[in-house]
């Protein structure tokens, strides 16, 4: 018969182990940032995260690609977190849409470019910071040495 002390030690060890892994299990990846939306045209205060299947799809858009989304606060801040992404470094896209447009919208070039690409894996903690409207001037940094794919 097991002694109560032995049981308690095992339980405590298991509890400590679970607690230490907790932050990594709950939200594996996290993207925080700030984006500045112009007053006109009117943009929806929602930012979408897409998993891009390959480099050939950098200019492709489909609802199928979208894996997560988050509201953008009135001051421009947003946070997207989750764990529903595949292993390894993959290409991701953040994008926004003008009001009334489909969520599968890509705007390439010009002042209204609506997206950016970057590499991320399921443990990445991404910081997105825009110093001008939309995606015209932004920086992406993260906890790992992965280069931003800014085009």
């Amino acid at each position: 018969m097991k002694s109560p002390n032995c049981f308690n030690k095992k339980t405590m060890l298991s509890l400590i182990l679970r607690l230490s892994l907790f932050p990594f299990c709950v939200f594996a990846y996290q993207i925080t940032g700030k984006i500045l939306l112009p007053e006109t045209p009117v943009w929806s205060p929602v930012i979408y995260l897409s998993l891009i299947p390959s480099f050939d799809d950098l200019n492709a858009v489909s609802e199928d690609f979208i894996i997560n989304k988050s509201d953008i606060r009135s001051d421009g801040y947003f946070i997207i977190k989750g764990e529903n992404i595949p292993e390894g470094d993959r290409i991701y896209r953040l994008h926004i849409c003008q009001k009334g447009d489909p969520i599968a919208t890509i705007m390439i070039g010009g002042e209204e470019e609506n997206h950016c690409h970057f590499l991320m894996n399921k443990n990445s903690k991404i910081l997105f910071n825009s110093t001008d409207l939309l995606f015209s001037n932004y920086q992406i940094s993260q906890n790992e040495a992965l280069d931003n794919l800014k085009e």
Partner: protein, 131 residues
Amino acid sequence: MKKLLLLSLLTFLTASSFSQNDVPQNRIKKTLELDGSSFQKEIKLMVREEKTLRYSVKGKITGGKFDVKIYDPNGKKENGFLLSTMEGSNAKGSLIEVNTDPIPGIWVFKIDNSKSKGSISLSAFQNNRGL
């Protein structure tokens, strides 16, 4: 004699259809209405030296897929986008490009529509640098 006539007719028809699609234009301003059918189309643009090339492709589709690719005279893909929809959903794309030093020659806009409905507008022209 019959064979010769048939051959002449075929040559004429081929040349006619070729000329409609393949004569390079100095500028493009077109709107393609997509009715849910599938088709491929090439639009050619004659690009001259020492002028800025400006082009845009904009559109919204419902259902199907729409793909546009833009190639320079060397056959290198320069730009484009692919709109892909799930059943009954919409997708929208726009592409704006300003190339201040384009390769002179024939640029090709290759369009491949697969069962999508909607409207796509294309515009391309050149003007003097700096304008």
